[in-house]
């Protein structure tokens, strides 16, 4: 209430609080004040400029005095000396527009999607049920993902609010911080993370506290890594699948199965073009940007993004599928295929795929030999470049532009 009273007149809020608790208070205050939160996937100057075109009255609420976001800025109010406001129950209408989320840059220009309060709540209630958080015990959630990102927003902020559980306010960064934060919260506890952070944690040589549940999303996790996470954290690891448009719709226990299980009520159907999701919290039929193969009424396989499809000499695959195969090779730490933008070296005009791989213990012959066992030879990378890491962003995604410019540089050096 106190924060709601401090909000300026504009109807759109960019909530830039890095502290998860302050973010949540700001989000709640915005709801109460009937303002709409804007949740872009990044806060680069270009994205901020696009936001002002989308909502000219947008202002930024921040808890960082060094915040450089180029918008009218409001500081998160200081609690010291503030008058307490009498508690009163809040009633937020399910139809109220709570947020706009934007598709991430890997699919092109950011597009806004409306999220009503009711849809957000329904989505994370299904999630809480699937994760087993409604067992009457009090679970503590530690997140390495920012609350501004859709996955972090759903799986730390909203999940805790709607399942009667608690989250830890920090966003621990270094492996030692993650371990100490996780170790300091009461059990049962859950770590909400990404493949990048999990990989770093395993490699850091720190003592890993036990966790009752580890959640991963943003990019597919290899089965090898999933098994190692389960062993070292003495935990269950669940991967979450969803999209900006639908929110989360499925999960899988990656160490045990490649099949995804839909949240209750959600169904998939396919037409000639693509697969659609409907039902449950999704409400209206929504096209998915991924190639999904329905294997049972509530199960499916994920074969990668539609925009990732590659067709070489009549053979079809997807970059995500190829990436999955590359990352499944023992000894491969990370790897990504990409389509070279202009392949002038080709005399046949056939566009080949190339790949970057992080595999300190392997050589090119060993990786290629393994790949031959897994993929059609037309998809073997030309060239296969060994690098020390991939240019992943801080949510673990590999933006197309960044990957291509990184690959171009790597090829020049090779």
């Amino acid at each position: 209430m106190r924060v709601a009273a401090a909000l300026p007149g504009g109807r759109h809020v960019l909530n830039a609080c890095s502290d998860r608790y302050r973010f949540t208070v700001t989000f709640a205050a915005s709801l109460v004040a009937k303002k709409v939160s804007l949740l872009p996937s990044t806060q680069t100057p270009e994205v901020i400029r696009q936001l002002t075109e989308f909502a000219p009255d947008v202002f930024c609420l921040t808890d960082d005095s060094r915040c450089q976001i180029d918008l009218p800025r409001v500081r998160f109010p200081d609690a010291a000396g503030a008058q307490t406001v009498p508690w009163q129950p809040l009633q937020i209408e399910p139809e109220s527009l709570a947020a706009y989320v934007f598709t991430s840059g890997s699919t092109g220009t950011p597009l806004p999607y409306k999220k009503t309060w009711g849809r957000l709540v329904n989505c994370v209630r299904f999630e809480a049920e699937r994760l087993g958080l409604l067992d009457g015990r009090s679970h503590a959630i530690v997140g390495t993902v920012p609350p501004q990102h859709m996955y972090g927003f759903e799986s730390t902020v909203l999940l805790a609010l709607q399942s009667g559980n608690a989250f830890s306010a920090g966003r621990p960064f270094y492996p030692a911080d993650v371990c100490s934060e996780l170790g300091s919260v009461p059990q049962p506890r859950m770590l909400v993370s990404t493949p990048v952070h999990l990989r770093t944690l395993l490699a850091a040589g720190v003592h890993l506290p036990s966790a009752d549940l580890v959640l991963s999303a943003t990019a597919p996790l290899s089965q090898n890594l999933a098994r190692e996470v389960e062993q070292r954290f003495e935990t269950r690891l669940l991967e979450i699948y969803g999209s900006t448009e639908t929110g989360q719709i499925a999960s899988r226990r990656t160490a045990h199965t490649v099949e995804w299980q839909l949240f209750s009520g959600v169904r998939l159907f396919s037409d000639t073009e693509q697969t659609w999701a409907e039902g449950g919290h999704v409400e209206q039929p929504t096209p998915m940007c991924d190639v999904l193969e329905v294997t049972a009424r509530d199960r499916f396989l994920l074969h990668g993004r539609l925009s990732d499809l590659v067709n070489i000499a009549g053979k079809r695959s997807s970059l995500s599928y190829l990436n999955h195969q590359l990352n499944a090779i023992p000894g491969v730490v990370d790897g990504a295929f990409f389509v070279r933008e202009e392949d002038e070296s080709s005399s046949t005009g056939v566009t080949r795929v190339a790949a970057l791989v992080v595999a300190p213990s392997l050589d090119a012959a060993a990786v290629t030999e393994q790949l031959r066992k897994r993929i059609d030879p037309v998809f073997l990378p030309r060239p296969l470049l060994f690098v020390d890491s991939l240019p992943r962003n801080d949510t673990g995604k590999l933006p197309h532009e960044a990957l291509l410019s990184f690959a171009t540089n790597a090829m020049k050096r090779a």
Binding site: F173, Y174, P175, H197, A203, N393, N409
Partner: protein
């Protein structure tokens, strides 16, 4: 054991750090596959954001290399953290003061 370890925990004099700075610069360039020569990294320029232009995943990568090479687990909650990535010089000074190997 402690006789051997204690001198290393003292901040090394600046003259020695030039060598360490170069060593750390080599590590960073190798770990991140940067398109700059280690010798060209300005020891005074910020590593994060502007300057060398590293992002948070790079910083995680450096943290891993630093933990393996020097036996230091970086922590965001230590007061020095703000300082550590202010420049190559600060990072090298921090390593010199806290290395365990």
């Amino acid at each position: 054991m402690s006789d051997k370890a204690s001198p290393l925990r003292q901040p090394a004099p600046p003259a020695d750090n030039a060598v360490l700075q170069r060593e750390v610069a080599d590590l960073i360039v190798a770990a991140l596959n940067l398109d700059v020569a280690a010798a060209d990294i300005d020891p005074q320029a910020p590593l994060y954001g502007d300057g060398l232009g590293l992002d948070s995943i790079d910083i995680l990568e450096i943290a891993l290399v630093v933990s393996k090479q020097y036996g230091i687990q970086l922590r965001a909650d230590s007061e020095e953290n703000e300082q550590i990535f202010r420049s190559l010089r600060y990072l090298a000074d921090y390593i010199a003061a806290h290395r365990t190997k």
